[in-house]
């Protein structure tokens, strides 16, 4: 499977030591790369490709070697020394995660020396790890805790801190840091610098003064953090966690005066089962609806509704940009248009490419559109004072917490979305309510924002927004069924985990302009014979690649529309999703999402009847009309990367 990992290895700026073992040199005549080499681990034989690490070879043999700093998404570090093993003819123990097998090798994974060393490493880590397991968000999901258990730690051999050494950093709306729990595995560093290329966290200082810090030890809220939360997903302990508003949400639920509405995004439903012991890839959409009602939410809506709305708003915006640029020859129009659904990406571009902000669609993200619709249209419809409505958003995302707290997101006159919950936090609420999610009955979303389309669902996977947009554009513009171009309306080139995806769609003929858009464009003739060029990038490292290509006037600068997602894999790999994460887990979640899409009766955003209704009843000027602009569109802040 081609995950984004491949791309990162190609272009990573990580120091060589932090990359995987490079195996270029093979003794002549031995068959070169791809040659097999014999390995014997704990008396068992196997053949592995040249350069395979001991850890991977052991995995192949079904032998477990404990790890801590190793992560399947990240390059090799070899710093924690938990995975040390004995290699024949080597004086010292070797880190299994970093040791490439290049000649016949004999390995022992649990000799006295190995056991003693591992135990000492765990003891040493515990001697610096402040905090109690039972008062930690990662209780029972902590790799240090598991190691302590595995190595039979029943007392603190080298002591245990009795007081905190660092102040917690609670400044961010999204990511909280408690460095007292940090074990210096540097997964967050490798995530932030290599995987995401945001560059907020690095090791600072030397020796036992080493700590993971931001530039000048500034609070997270003051640096270039994009709130993607990928560091949280890869932190083995509770040192990094999301800013958890569950207490406030419970308080709102418990307040009889409050009407508490929750919208649920597509990605959490594909992953929440993992928090309840299910294998990745089991969607629990309808069980979750039941659970949310049992928890006491007054209404359970589907964010997919506003995903469909986003397609119409953002799609219309694109058409308008193209019309201005191609027909009216307006050279000031910024193209390609960039998607704006991912708040991590939005903050990324605000910091790193502020000069390209005019390219970002002014359409709000589905979460924020929903908030604004609930506190206006829905409030009017149900005659509820919007001040009594509390809108909660279940998101796979930590950046959504920052997004809903953006000062400009108050277009309804109130805070459009009051609280953003992550998948993990909702799982905790459900557990707290004594509900065993996988076993409860299913139930549907509430009307009127329950009916959604398959297009909304696939917003959860990288390429989904683009696929949804194309399904609609093809039908509205070309006037033919998507199915005529792509079997089952599955636009396969947009799917999968390639870091950057690109496609060209020819528009050989054009249909009539639909009623909804007639006010904006008189005809589609100007698009006849045109080629629509689109791109997709997920993870900000890939986004950076695309932006640099655009800056350099490369192929992607000729695109008309580019989907950007801040997180690897898109929302299904979001910073609010269950821990752990890996390429396999994300692939399973993606499969769950596309399966769900396939089962929808309506799979195109413009066919969503509620969307049609809202343009008829409420947003009467149509997409990108006056009220749309007020409620569903926003503006951005050029932040730049200099912070002092």
């Amino acid at each position: 499977m081609a995950d984004n990992k491949k791309n990162i290895e190609d272009v990573s700026r990580a120091p060589v030591s932090q990359r995987g073992p490079a195996m270029e040199r093979v003794a002549e005549g031995e068959g070169g790369i791809g040659a097999q080499v014999a390995v014997n681990i704990d008396g068992r034989d196997a053949k592995v490709p040249m350069g395979t690490t001991i850890l991977d070879a052991a995995k192949k043999l079904g032998i477990r070697i404990p790890t801590l700093c190793h992560h399947p998404d990240l390059c090799v570090a070899g710093v924690c020394r938990v995975c040390v093993v004995e290699v024949e003819n080597q004086r010292t123990l070797q880190a299994a995660c970093a040791y490439p097998i290049t000649q016949p090798t004999k390995v022992k994974t649990h000799t006295r020396k190995v056991r003693q060393a591992r135990r000492h490493v765990v003891d040493l880590l515990l001697s610096q790890h402040y905090g109690d397991c039972y008062a930690c968000t990662r209780n029972n999901n902590c790799e240090l805790q598991s190691l302590a258990k595995e190595y039979g730690v029943d007392f603190f051999r080298f002591g245990h801190p009795t007081e905190a050494r660092y102040e917690k950093d609670l400044s961010s709306h999204s990511v909280l840091r408690d460095m007292n729990k940090c074990v210096l595995c540097r997964r967050c560093v490798r995530t932030c610098i290599d995987l995401q290329e945001v560059g907020v966290l690095e090791a600072v200082g030397r020796s036992c003064e080493t700590k993971i810090a931001t530039f000048l030890d500034k609070p997270l809220a003051e640096v270039v953090c994009i709130n993607c939360g990928q560091c949280i997903n890869r932190c083995p302990t509770g040192a990094l966690r999301a800013n958890d508003p569950t207490d406030e949400v419970w308080a709102a639920i418990d307040d009889p005066k409050k009407h508490v509405v929750i919208q649920t995004a597509p990605a959490p439903r594909a992953a929440i089962g993992e928090c309840f012991g299910l294998e990745p890839g089991h969607a629990l959409t309808f069980e979750m609806n039941t659970a949310l009602r049992m928890c006491g939410f007054d209404k359970v809506f589907d964010t997919n509704f506003t995903a469909d709305l986003t397609i119409l708003e953002e799609g219309t915006e694109l058409i308008l940009r193209l019309y201005k640029a191609l027909v009216q020859k307006d050279r000031s129009v910024a193209l390609p248009q960039f998607t704006s659904c991912s708040p991590g990406w939005v903050k990324y571009i605000e910091h790193f490419y502020p000069e390209y902000l005019p390219n970002v669609s002014s359409a709000k993200s589905p979460q924020q559109m929903f908030g604004a619709i609930i506190k206006t249209y829905y409030a009017q419809m149900h005659k509820i004072d919007p001040k009594d409505i509390v809108t909660v958003a279940l998101m796979p995302c930590s950046a959504k917490k920052f997004e809903c707290n953006r000062p400009e997101m108050m277009d309804s006159g109130y805070k459009d979305v009051d609280y953003g919950l992550t998948t993990r936090e909702l799982a905790k609420m459900i557990s707290e309510a004594g509900i065993d999610l996988p076993t409860i009955p299913k139930s549907d979303f509430d009307d009127p924002f329950g009916s959604a389309t398959g297009s909304g669902v696939i917003f959860g996977a990288s390429g989904g927004v683009m696929e949804a947009a194309l399904r609609t554009v093809i039908e509205l513009v070309v006037g033919i069924k998507v199915e005529d171009l792509y079997a089952h309306a599955d636009i396969i080139p947009m799917r999968g985990f390639d870091g950057v995806k690109y496609a060209e769609i020819n528009i050989p003929k054009v249909g009539p302009v639909p009623e909804l858009l007639k006010k904006l464009v008189p005809s589609w003739d100007w698009l006849k014979g045109a080629t629509l060029k689109v791109g997709v990038a997920h993870g900000t490292a890939n986004a950076k690649r695309v932006m640099e290509d655009i800056k350099a006037g490369g192929k992607l600068s000729e695109c008309h529309f580019i989907e950007f997602m801040g997180c690897p894999g898109g929302c299904l790999g979001g910073g609010g999703q269950p821990i752990p994460t890996s390429p396999e887990i994300r692939a399973a979640r993606a499969k769950a999402i596309y399966d769900e899409d396939a089962h929808y009766e309506i799979r195109k955003s413009h066919e969503n009847p509620v969307v049609a209704k809202i343009y008829k009843e409420f947003l009467t000027e149509g997409p990108c009309g006056h009220l749309s602009h007020k409620l569903l569109h926003t503006h951005y802040t050029p932040r730049g990367k200099y912070i002092v």
Binding site: G199, E202, F215, I643, V644
Partner: protein, 172 residues
């Protein structure tokens, strides 16, 4: 910092980067030059360096924090580093250390209020056969006695007068 000062610093660093190459491997030589020239690698300087080399400011900060001779806090014009490693220790560095503190009125790790001196430790400076030894900036002094401390510092102070004058001329 005034904008003009920032601009000057930026131009200065840009010239260094152009001379040494805008590549990551030029990072430490650039930082060393900034450190020598400005007695510190300021917060702004770190960001400029990061910008020019296309790396993240936190990576520059990380490197600066790793090496003993790089610092983002201002250092004195004269950095006095007394070797504290075993041979110098056995040769009587403790008395020299105390006299340094007495004469400068600061503890190790601190700078004098006038910004002239910073007192610091060094780990083995390779003068083990002639200890106690210390470095004043790049200059090495061996077989230092508590009495000799005064002389070394006085010599610095005298040089400082020249430096001060140079500075004045620069401004004029």
């Amino acid at each position: 910092m005034l904008v003009t000062e920032r601009e000057r610093l930026r131009d200065d660093i840009q010239a260094m980067a152009d001379r040494m190459g805008r590549k990551r491997d030029a990072l430490i030589p650039i930082l060393q030059e900034v450190q020598t020239k400005h007695q510190q690698i300021s917060d702004y300087a770190m960001q400029v360096v990061a910008d020019l080399l296309d790396i993240h400011p936190v990576e520059v900060y990380s490197v600066v924090s790793f090496y003993s001779f790089l610092d983002n806090k201002p250092k004195g014009r004269f950095v006095v580093r007394l070797c504290r490693t075993i041979s110098c220790d056995m040769a009587g560095k403790e008395a020299v250390a105390r006299q340094l503190m007495n004469d400068l009125g600061v503890c190790f790790g601190e700078s004098t209020k006038d910004g002239k001196f910073t007192l610091d430790w060094a780990n083995c400076i390779g003068m083990c056969d002639q200890g106690p030894a210390l470095l004043v900036n790049e200059q090495v002094h061996t077989k230092v006695t508590p009495e000799g401390v005064h002389e070394i510092l006085e010599a610095c102070r005298k040089t400082f007068g020249v430096y001060a004058q140079e500075k004045k001329e620069e401004r004029a």
